[in-house]
Structures are given as C-alpha cells and as structure tokens.
C-alpha cells in the first residue's frame, strides 16, 4: 500500500475543517478527492503535502510518517506535486525548470562551479519528451501557454521518480480539450510507472472520466468512497451536489 491515511483531524478556530478522514491509496491508482467548496479538500491536501500539520491522525507513506514533515522532506521521500495555479521558475527555460528539479534530486544544489545548463540534459529531455514539451525546451517558462505550463509542472513533478503524485486541481484554468489530453497523459504515465495519484478536481467530467476511485468530502467528513459508478449512484453524494451535475455526467 503506497499511502495509508488514518483518522486525520484539523480545526481552524472553531471550525472542524477536516474531521476523521481515513483512506488508502495503492500504486498505479488514480484517486480523486472531491466535494463542494469548503468541504475540506484543500486542507486535507495541504496536510498530505506538508504545508499544514494535522491536529491528529497519521499519514503513512510506505514506511514513513508524513504528518508534520516539511514539504521539501516529503519530496525527498518520493512525493511529487503540481499546483492549482502553476508554480514554475519564470526566469528559466522549460528545460532548466526540469534540470533544476533534477539537480535537487541528485543533491547538487551547493555545487558552485559546474555549468547548470549542461547537467542532466538527457534526463530532462526524456521527461519533457514524455509530456510532449520537448520541442519547446528552450523557450522561457514565462511565455508559455497555460496548458503547456501544466505539462512542464508534470515533468518537474516526475523528476524525483515519485511513487506518489499529489495534483491539486490539475486541469484548473485549462480549455476542455486540453483537460482531457492532460488527464489521459497523466493516466498513461501512472500506469507505466506504477505511481499512485491523488488529485482534487472541480470538473466532474475529468473526475468521472479518469479517476479509478473517488473520495467525497463534505463538511470535513468523508461521506462516500468507491468507483465512479458507485459514487454516482450514492444518495448522499447526489444530495450534496443537489443531484444536478452528477446525473448528467
């Protein structure tokens, strides 16, 4: 089992943002975390990636406890991340963004003399090739179209050969066609590398089209869990979503 989350709690002031959430995630699986606004998705996510410390509960990633561990250490254990609003290095080229992650992975961050642009070129190009960005490798990241930026982020997230990918709203801000392409690409990569993926998403087409399993959060609690068909038929889920969107998905 890649990830075992057990009894996660987090409160802000008097609000119980995440209330006793437990789930498991296995290699090669695409698990979607959904719920209406304010359900606790982001809080849950930020506890997994180290930005928030849970009040209680444990997050086991293989043999390591992730609860309360700093983001950069979580990354070193083999967890890659993409952000809802892309975070890349604007003053670097597409390839350099990936090389940067590779330099960190190979622990060369304090090397003062080698030319960074000449390091790990082949590895970086292989990753960019995998996400379909090899032809734009020399362009500055600051001029890319948003959908391309998301692909660069995916390549960066793969640089440390992660066993778990955390994707926060992977298709937010993208055109419908791009969304499908990016999720299909993610699904392929996950299958070939046996990576476990946890993602949050607002777009129900993306969720029901690509997730293997779905977790539904409402008011901090897990109200449903199962494959897309099961979740779609769940009465409580229908109620939470007012029966509107899911019925037609």
């Amino acid at each position: 089992m890649t990830l075992v989350v057990d009894g996660l709690f987090k409160a802000f002031g008097g609000v119980q943002a995440v209330n006793n959430v437990s789930f498991r995630l296995d290699a090669g699986e695409l698990l979607a975390l959904i719920g209406p606004n304010g359900a606790g998705k982001t809080t849950c996510f930020n506890m997994l990636n180290g930005q928030l410390r849970p009040d209680a509960g444990s997050i086991r990633f293989f043999d390591n406890e992730l609860a309360g561990v700093a983001p950069r250490k979580i990354w070193r254990l083999g967890v890659g991340r993409t952000f809802q609003i892309t975070a890349t290095f604007g003053s670097m080229t597409v390839r350099e963004n990936v090389q940067m992650a590779l330099m960190s992975y190979h622990r060369r961050l304090f090397a003062l003399l080698p030319r960074a642009a000449a390091l790990y070129v082949d590895e970086a190009m292989a990753l960019l090739d995998r996400v379909g960005m090899a032809d734009q490798a020399d362009r500055p990241c600051s001029v890319l179209a948003y959908g391309d930026l998301k692909r660069v982020e995916l390549a960066v997230a793969l640089a440390n050969e992660p066993r778990l990918l955390l994707m926060d709203e992977p298709t937010a801000g993208m055109a419908p066609k791009e969304r499908v392409e990016l999720m299909a690409l993610t699904a392929d990569i996950v299958a070939e590398r046996k990576i476990a993926v946890l993602f949050t998403e607002h777009d129900m087409d993306v969720v029901f089209g690509h997730a293997g399993r779905i977790l539904v959060l409402n008011r901090g609690q897990l109200i449903a869990e199962g494959n897309p068909a099961e979740v779609r038929e769940n009465d409580q889920v229908r109620e939470v979503y007012l029966g509107a969107e899911l019925g037609h998905a």
């Binding site: 950069r72 952000f83 975070a87 890349t88 670097m92 080229t93 003399l113």
Partner: protein, 623 residues
C-alpha cells in the same frame, strides 16, 4: 520621582518629530511603494523654511505658528513637484528603482540648502509664550516640550479622520491594501499618488518645523532622521499610522532612559529594537503580511540566463587588455581612480548577486565591505600581519558578520528584509564607531601600509595590477556561480518559493549561503580598499556607502549581469569628475535624476536593448 516623570515626558516630546516624519514615510510607501530616501530632506527643508518664514513674519504667536504651518505646506508642495516631475516617469521601472531618483533628490536639496541657508547650524526661534520651563515635582521641563507632546495625538487624530471619514482617505487606505484593485476600479492613480506625496512630505516638513525651537536646523538632519524614520515605520508596521505612533513613542522612551543607563547605546538602541521586533514579528508591531501580488514586479519578466555570445566575450577580453595596458599610458591619477572603480565594481557586483538573482535587497551591504576592511586593518594593527595575509584573512570578518546577520535576514522578504540588513549594518557601524580602544573610533585605524613591492611611494602600478587581478577574478567567480547549480537554486528560490520547497530545496539555507558568499565578496573589496587608502574609517560601514552600492546596482540595471559594473563605473567616474566643483552634490544629484529618467531599465538594460543585437544577444520572445 519628578526626574523620571520628566524623562518620560522628554521621551514623548522627542517622539513627536519622529512620528510626524515616519507617518509621512509610511503613507507614501503604503500607496506608491516608493522607498523615499529623500524624506529626510523634506524634514530638513521643513526646519529651514520655517526658520526663514518666522524671520519674515516676526516672532509673535501668529508669526511663529503661521510660519510652521506654512513651511509644512510649502514642503508638501515641493514633495508633490518631485512626484510629478520625476517619480511619475519611473513608476513602471523595476521595483525599488525609484529610490535612486529620491537619492538624487537628497543630493540636490543638500546643496540648495547649503546655498540658501549657509553651512552654519541655525539656532531655532523660541516659541512665543513657551520659552520658560514647567516645574514637575522639582524637576524643570521646557514648556515647549508640552506643546510637542500635544502635537502627535492631534495629528494622529487628524489623520484618522482623514483616512476614515473622507473619500480620499478611503482611497488611500484601499490603495495601501491593494493598489492594482484600486486602479482596476477606475480611480485616477496619478492624482492619488501626487496627493499622497503632498500629504507625506507635508508631515515630514511639519516634523522638521516643530522641532526647530529644540533642535534648530543643520545640514546633517536629512541623513540623521531618515534611518530613524525607517526604523519607526518598520517597527510599527508598514502602512500603519497608529503603529508608527506606537513605535515612535517606544523608541523615544527607550532612548530617553537608555541614555541614563548606558549612554553609548543610544546610537544603536533603535536598530536593536528593530532587529528584535522583526525577528519576532516580521511585519512590525501593527503591520500585516504583504498581500500576494504586491511585490511590485514591474516590467517584463526576467530573461533566462544565456552564456555570453562570442562578440561579448571578445569585448570582455578587450576590456581586460585595456586594463592591462593602462599603466603604460595612464598617469598615477588615472590608476588611482581605476583602482577605486574596480573595487566598487566588485562591491556592486556582490550586492547585485543577492539583490538581482537572489531577490534579497540589502540596504546595509557596507557592513560586509567594512567588515573586510576592518578585518584586514585589525590584523595589521594587532597581529603584525603583512599585507598579503591581511588581505586574505580580512574577509573572514565579513564572512562572520554575513553568517550571523544573514541567518536572521533571510527569514524575511521585501522591504522588511532590506530594513533588517540596514539595522544590522548600523549596529556594526556603531560598534566600530564607539569601540575606541580597539577600532580607534571616529579617528579610524591609520598606517595600513602595503607590502614593499606594492608600495605607493614607488609606483601605483603593482597595487593597481593586484587590484585588477583580484577584483576581476572575484567578479568572474560570482558570475560563474550564477551559472552553477547553486546560482540556479538561488534564482529558483526567488522565482517561486512554493515550487522550490516542492522540489526539495532548503530555501533558507540556500539564501543564507548566498548571502554569506555575497558578504565575503564585498569583504574582499573592502580589504583591498583599506590598503588602497592606507586607513580604515567607520565610514566604510556607514549608511551612505550602503546607499552608494544600491545606487550603482539600480542605476546600472538590476536585471542584467553587467548592470552593477556599468553602474559602478558610471557612478564612481561621475562622482570623481564632479566632486571638483563647489556645489558638486547638486550636479551629481541632477545627473542621477537625469540618468534615472533616461534609462528606467538601468543603463545596462538600455544598452542591452539597443546594442544587444549587434553583440549577438538574442532577443527573447515577449509574453
């Protein structure tokens, strides 16, 4: 008992001028994001103009208070004129660039004040009806102090009404919180900014005018007050008027009592307070964290680093060849000037290293320049060291200072980081200034002689060559580091802290070592400088020298690697040329202002744009 009450009241009265100046600075920064170095000059002008007006109007009650109020209004108008004529042209320039223009304004105002009011300190007029002293439980307190104590709350209340009960004030508060949003709502920003400058400058002028009966007017007031005003603004929290009031009172009281316990501490006390406050409350006592998107990144995004094309490399070789042949053709004066230029170029490059690619602005980089200078000078004086080993080991002191100060500074960002570097530099300066037994205090350490082979008496050539080799190597080394994984990681931390954490970069550690490396390079420049001058003075650590470095970097262009070198050459050369005139500050200030308006992307940024294609620097695609 009476003594202590009087001490409290004295503290409160000296808080008045401080609060007035600081609140103006805070309002201007909050709305326009301009770090207005000339704010101290407005304070000084307030004092001088009030002096002249009171002379003109006569010294009756109406003449005195009327003179003070009119002086404040006049200074407000001067501030508005500066905004309209100069700053309005450079709002689109990269962050902090505007402060270069305000530095030019300082110099211009200094010489205008010298021309109009003369070099003699002026003793202020006494306030009519408040010339005596009040007896407080047996201890006298000047009656005018009571008037000063009353002024701060009155102004504070007035500002509160202005900001909470008028439409204009609401706009100012809104702009302080989110400038872009206010612009998007269709507010005429130009007049909002001009009005803000009027108000802020008027408060500075009022501060200078009301302290006239106590402190008089002199030509050093501008620099003396500006550091204190920055401290008050930062301790109180940027943009918080009430915070500024609280901080002014806190610092004035600490000074009033600190001077009783440990007189030497007054020079550093407020900087220590600021350091402590920023370490525990990184946004000041009543400030709030900067909203995202307020970092003020203006203009096009920075371009990826590309290795120098062949023609640029050839130009570099030509410069080295020129420097190598210079001793053959040039006389000693030119060599001495070139030594200065080389040393300051290295100093500026070391600052640019953290400020540009590192994204950490230092207002106190002279601490490390002076650290290297004193490191070498102390070794000569106390360890009987020779020139070579003093030069090699001197920068160790700079490294130690950078390690210690940097550890705190890299935890902050933006203007708060800049202010903390200023505070630490001022602490280092005052230690050097006051520790007479070891550093010689204001008299400095003299007789720092070169080794025989590089001795001035025979010729400047050997020392010039030594300087050229060391400075060029150090600059090339820093350039190389920028292209290394370390330099890339430093840039990564600046571009996106979030992403840096998410790919395993220890952002604080990376920044800390970058800060230290930059400090060591500044220290190398400093240790060369003591041997070139033959002495070490506290000036080498002072705020003006830190500002010089800042001006060089910004003037040259912070977004290009050649910028700091171009800036250092231009600034040092112009200063050398102009300083032969009587009113050289005026002309230097004017030159700086003109350069700022002509080259809002910095001189090297301008050169890159128009000469770049010929040198084979390819134009990057724009967004």
């Amino acid at each position: 008992m009476g003594f202590y009450i009087v001490q409290v009241l004295t503290g409160l009265s000296s808080a008045a001028a401080l609060f007035l100046v600081a609140s103006g600075l805070s309002i201007i920064f909050g709305v326009t994001r301009v770090v207005n170095l000339a704010h101290g000059s407005f304070y000084m002008l307030g004092a001088y103009i009030a002096y002249s007006l009171i002379d003109l109007f006569g010294r009756g009650g109406l003449g005195f208070w009327g003179g003070i109020v009119l002086a404040a209004v006049a200074v407000g108008m001067i501030g508005a004129i500066v905004e309209v004529l100069i700053l309005r042209r450079v709002y689109q320039a990269p962050e902090l660039f505007q402060l270069v223009a305000t530095f030019g304004v300082i110099l211009v105002i200094q010489d205008i004040a010298l021309l109009v009011w003369g070099a003699e300190d002026l003793v202020g007029h006494r306030a009519p009806g408040l010339t005596g002293a009040v007896d407080i439980m047996g201890t006298p307190l000047p009656a005018y102090d009571l008037a000063l104590i009353a002024i701060s709350p009155v102004v504070l209340a007035g500002l509160w009404l202005l900001f909470n009960r008028t439409r204009w004030g609401t706009l100012v508060r809104a702009a302080t919180q989110d400038r872009e949003m206010v612009g998007a709502l269709g507010v005429n920003q130009a007049w909002l900014f001009t009005g803000t400058f009027f108000l802020g400058s008027m408060l500075a002028g009022l501060g200078g005018a009301v302290q006239l009966p106590k402190g008089g007017a002199d030509l050093l007031m501008d620099f003396n007050v500006i550091a204190a005003a920055f401290v008050v603004v930062v301790v109180g929290g940027m943009g918080s008027i009430f915070g500024a009031f609280l901080a002014a009172v806190l610092i004035a009281e600490l000074n009033a009592f600190g001077i009783l316990v440990f007189p030497e501490i007054t020079l550093v006390l407020m900087f220590l307070v600021m350091a402590v406050v920023l370490i525990f409350r990184p946004w000041g006592l009543l400030g709030s964290p900067e909203a995202p998107g307020q970092k003020g990144q203006q203009g096009p995004p920075e371009q990826p680093l590309r290795p120098a094309p062949v023609r640029v490399q050839m130009a570099g070789v030509a410069v080295v060849g020129f420097l190598a042949l210079l001793p053959v053709v040039a006389g000693p004066f030119a060599l001495v000037l070139t030594v200065d230029i080389l040393i300051f170029a290295l100093f500026a490059v070391s600052l640019h290293f953290i400020m540009g690619p590192g994204g950490m602005v230092s207002f106190g980089h002279a601490a490390y320049f002076g650290g290297g200078a004193y490191g070498a000078a102390l070794l000569i004086h106390y360890a009987n060291s020779n020139m070579e080993s003093a030069m090699a080991l001197g920068p160790v002191l700079a490294a130690v200072l950078a390690l210690v100060f940097g550890w705190f500074c890299v935890r902050l960002s933006g203007v708060y980081l800049a202010m903390l570097t200023l505070a630490f530099a001022q602490v280092a300066w005052s230690v050097v200034f006051q520790w007479n037994d070891v550093t010689g205090g204001d008299d400095g350490l003299l007789y720092i002689v070169k080794s025989a082979w590089a001795d001035t008496a025979q010729s400047w050539v050997p020392f010039y060559l030594l300087t050229a080799v060391l400075c060029l190597s150090a600059m090339l080394f820093l350039r190389r580091v920028l292209f290394s994984p370390f330099g890339y990681a430093m840039r990564a931390c600046r571009d996106s802290e979030l992403r840096s954490h998410a790919i395993g970069i220890n952002v604080l550690e990376q920044r800390w070592l970058a800060f230290t490396l930059s400090g060591v390079a500044a220290g190398v420049a400093g240790s060369l400088y003591v041997f070139s001058k033959g002495s070490a003075f506290p000036d080498y650590m002072s705020i003006p020298l830190s500002f010089d470095a800042l001006i060089m970097v910004l003037l040259g262009g912070v977004k290009t690697l050649l910028g700091p070198i171009v800036g250092a050459v231009t600034f040092t050369w112009i200063q050398d040329e102009i300083s032969r005139f009587e009113y050289w500050r005026f002309f230097l200030g004017l030159a700086i202002i003109l350069l700022v308006i002509a080259f809002p992307q910095g001189i090297a940024g301008f050169g890159r744009r128009y000469l770049g294609p010929w040198f084979g620097i390819r134009a990057e695609e724009a967004q």
